[in-house]
Symmetry: D2
Subunit: 386 residues, 4 copies
């Protein structure tokens, strides 16, 4: 079976997310990196592509050239991953989608609600996949949580508690560092710093695992470090479509946590607790029973978790393998997309443009609520969309 | 040195908190239980007092008789602990205070703001101690946190995150059980269930460790189990006197946690994380440094923590010993109160009527905020009090 | 019900074990401390007894005076606890036993096999209780392990792994400190340091939980710090009566652990893991199932664990409450010993002279094996005893 | 830079270790899989190679054909990985080495001391790399431990404690399963089951991190499950070249652990503790200081750990990325091996034939010691080798 042809925009020298995408995409030999515009600087883009051993003629100085050339290529790319700065996602995604390419865009999909809505419209018009890399959904035990909820093991889901809190923005002196500064610049980051960057992951996990969207919310954005234009700490309370209560805490000033993404789901019949820093264990507590440690790689897990599993129990998998599950699912969709069947974004486990758009709404409405004294505001769900 | 004479109201047969008070108060041989009215049922009160080996004539059928008789006694009680149902605290406390007894009242001090204010007035009028048993403040490492904040090791405290979430109210069927039912009855519990019962502990920890009171708050009370008159889950966001941001989550439906009280404090120079279920460890993360596990019983701790320490490092102390620190501090205050010096509640580490009143305000105002769409409301701090 | 009269030998000013015994013995109001010879220095003994508020005439300058006077006392002591240096246990225990007192001796029972044998003989001749304070057996979840083994939940027990390893002897410079020096002096400590002091606890846990004695062993004693006369690290492999395989590691130079006592029990049908530093949780893994966290204080535990439980789930109990269970069991035995029924040391859960003697054998034979190139040596079990 | 040409023997359909090698070798785009004989069944070998998208003419039905054809190939393989059953390693490794290929052999190198000695002789005669896949040495924090020891941060290393204990052999009924049965068959497994399979990893970690070899040992092999020809549980005590004391426990019947490899290193100045199931944290306890949690990905780590790091702190890496570090080191060695410089196996961090041979000695001598009543036996170290 021949490998799928894959290209990247962004993710060049020094980009960790770029490395993770490459390691993940090629892990199963489903995709092969064959083209790329890796850097805003044409020279750096070319030398990086060369260092990866790519064919010279498929390494580009900018994404526009890549789009033009690859669109004309007889042997078209099967997927383009976009890992550029957040405020460029919209334009690049739209261009590749309109040229008929399947796209995987890094989150956030865009930084304004309008552009997210437009991308969604573009994507659903064509038959291209527009996936959004909420990569933590690739972890087998995240999929296990979703499966347990769907299978009714928790009964009605009463409450979701999620947090993503770490200390990487705790050092006030780092604000002059360009790698930090853009995060607090509304031009580059949109109306939110940590809620957009971290909170959207946590909120998406809440949606992914419960199968519900966010219906309304009240938010409190705050600044632990004075002088920042955007929040470095936020709390959001919310209600989901199905009535589930939600609590989110997100922070960049929480010294002591190195990553800090976790989710807890509480239903009538039991509770779940998962922590990204130790992704191979899931705590499951049935009502009136003892807590159990569900281990990735064991036979009692749901098929969705077993399919996403690669290593034997006890051998840690980690984030690259989680991302690889997103890519493997994309490969399966792409391989079936040529056979005349239409692709529904909801058929697959990888996050889609629908999820991407919903999270942009959530982030922007949270910013708005916080400005309005934590007023409760409605969030449109997919059925409200035109 | 002779032991102090100690009496109890409430805390009889089957009361765990009663056992804990007795074990703690007598642990250092500072107090000796000599009198009590242990139960609302006079017969049960007497048989319980007898089973404890108390002198027959100091065991009473009701607190009124106890108050009358002990007030006349030549050898007066040095301290009376009140561990009756919450809605009776006010009347009993007031009566013993007015009769000139030192009092330790279980939390919450009262269930209405007005009665808390009145008790505060009564207490400050006389020279009696009116302590409130926010017992978790007796843990050595809780005092370590407070000391580190006061000593400036964290720099300015930017953020406090605290939660108290467990699953003991997750079973909807238990609502018919009298031990559960009263919790959701506003007549008996006041305007709040979990926020009053659990949240006040967590909020007091935030105040105790940071040395600040709550200035304003926005709350969201919710019900995971339908049909309950009071909340079984709550989120409160707040700001403290000194500008510290606050986040609280409290829940009774969080299946998977057996107790779930924890506090995290984040400052400019480092962060702290403590969890009541494993109270002998405190995680301290200095800015740009590795996290350190501070162990109770080690010589590098602050004097406040070392004084509160009893066992060698590695030998778990637990909650009885935490409470015992409250009693030991009370004993020291009581022993010095006879020597003509006035007692200031702020001089000692045990929580006082000031803390008790502030927490009643916080709970009631949180209930009010939640009803008003999570509106931000001011909380009076001590300097606002008449 | 009147409290039992209790006396102490040793355990005076600055003795942590003394504090723990007092806190534990009086916790349930079963015992009341009424007499003592607390210190080798008569003056310090008396002033300490006074500070505890004891009756002047029952505070003694030495144990011989205490023995003489209390033997003549109409109102005899119900129990004497001996918490003196190890090499004095034999003489004091024997004297009190022969005078007809029930005794609780700190471990090790003695420092030679001959004296342990003699004490055993003295104890079984009379009807006095001679208990030995392997205090960790008082933890509810240790009793839960024993109950699960007895009830057959593990099937045949294949393997016991236990360790007691900490770093309190890691600092070579501390060897001049008198509190450390005696540990490496064979005159005071017998033929072993860490194996006697720590290893005997771990070995007793293995025996207590499996209901088996040690049948044969091979040991390797070693020194991480040069110049010490006795071992600061040891490994012992063994076989138990019922064929169970055993592995023990004990160390005083294991920097990073604050206490380090743990036990794991592996049977045909499941495995157990318990750690003294977090005594309220027990990990239970059934064959082909997920690991479960058994929490102290939950209703699914065995009666032996529930009886030993005092606080609600999630509220840490700690070591004082574990010791209190030993005392409560002793009280029950003492209260029934006057009614004409003979007391069998095996009827009660508190460790007896049989356990004390067996552990002295184990320690001494381990020392002998290590000297003999880790030769396997037989350990007599109770049925081999004359 | 062109990718290195890489071939595999073994590791076909259903082989987890095969997947891990492929994912790891290609992760950095240093190696590209171009040839293989993947299965003992020629048909399955070919269909598997095809499923990987390999060139038809480089997929072989058996390793002999692969050796013959690839030896003649103008464009020779840069590395051959051997992941066949243990008892075939010797013959295949020898053949490929003698034909001039660099080899990475799965552990154990061989199942007899004689064959290990011979392979060592073959390897040192030529200039080929003969690496052995003790893959856990690829974890950044394992390298951190080694660096800290070498840099003297622990002072003299007094004690190493390592264990590798899990429950995958606990089910007696699984012994009829072919995937289990071979493990207890001396023809296929050599003189040891768990000591060879798991213990050699743990022992190698002890050697790798301390920079010492094993000097003498005493072992106790045992069987928890009756009827097995080889041990399912073992304890080994040992001394290392530099005088370090060693304790190893290895087990296949330890229900409750999913993997169970850990190592603790105790020196004069501090102790380290690392656990493979959570490989991104390393506990470091300086003498008289608090334990610190060293996190993979932080700037304070040693260069050896930082070089081996790929993801930002808090994003779990896992075993595939550990293996990838072995391959990246191999690539660096291979790329410099053509420039005339001789390769010393000790210059690189990947485990070499020297380590492989030493571990075969250790395993075989441990089996011998156990049979001889745990007699202490000498283990030759590299300087004793002819």
């Amino acid at each position: 079976m021949s490998r799928l042809r894959w290209g990247m925009v962004g993710g060049g020298e020094g980009s960790q997310i770029g490395f993770t995408h490459r390691a993940a995409a090629e892990l199963d030999r489903e995709f092969e990196l064959v083209a790329g515009a890796f850097d805003i600087d044409p020279g750096r883009s070319r030398s990086f592509g060369n260092s990866l051993g790519l064919d010279f003629e498929h390494v580009y100085g900018d994404w526009q050239s890549m789009l033009a050339a690859e669109s004309e290529c007889a042997n078209r790319l099967d997927l383009v991953t976009i890992a550029t700065p957040n405020n460029s996602h919209f334009e690049i995604c739209r261009a590749f989608l309109q040229a008929g390419f399947h796209v995987l865009c890094e989150k956030p999909l865009t930084i304004t609600r309008e552009s997210a809505q437009e991308l969604h419209a573009v994507a659903v018009t064509g038959e291209q996949i527009c996936a959004v890399n909420f990569g933590y959904t690739g972890y087998p035990l995240v999929r296990q949580m979703r499966a347990m909820v769907i299978n009714g093991e928790l009964g009605k889901v009463r409450l979701v508690k999620t947090e993503f809190a770490a200390g990487f923005l705790a050092d006030a002196q780092s604000d002059t560092n360009p790698r930090v500064r853009w995060r607090f610049d509304p031009e580059l980051a949109g109306p939110s710093c940590v809620m957009a960057d971290m909170g959207s992951h946590a909120m998406h996990l809440a949606c992914f695992t419960t199968g519900q969207q966010i219906k309304r919310l009240s938010a409190d954005f705050a600044n632990g470090v004075q002088g920042r234009q955007l929040e470095d700490d936020a709390s959001v309370v919310f209600r989901m479509e199905g009535g589930t209560i939600g609590r989110l805490w997100v922070s960049g000033i929480a010294l002591g946590k190195t990553h800090g993404l976790s989710i807890q789901i509480f239903g009538e019949q039991g509770g779940l607790c998962w922590n990204q820093e130790h992704p191979d264990q899931l705590l499951w507590t049935p009502l009136n029973g003892s807590s159990q440690i569900l281990e990735r790689g064991t036979v009692s897990l749901a098929p969705e978790a077993q399919t996403a599993n690669r290593l034997a129990v006890g051998h840690p998998e980690g984030m690259v393998l989680a991302f690889a599950n997103i890519y493997r699912d994309l490969a399966a969709s792409i391989r079936t997309s040529g056979d005349g069947s239409t692709i529904s974004p909801r058929q697959h486990l990888f996050p889609s443009v629908v999820d991407g758009r919903h999270m942009v709404d959530v982030v922007c409405i949270a910013a708005q609520s916080s400005k309005a004294g934590s007023q409760w505001l409605d969030v449109p769900t997919q059925e409200d969309w035109v």
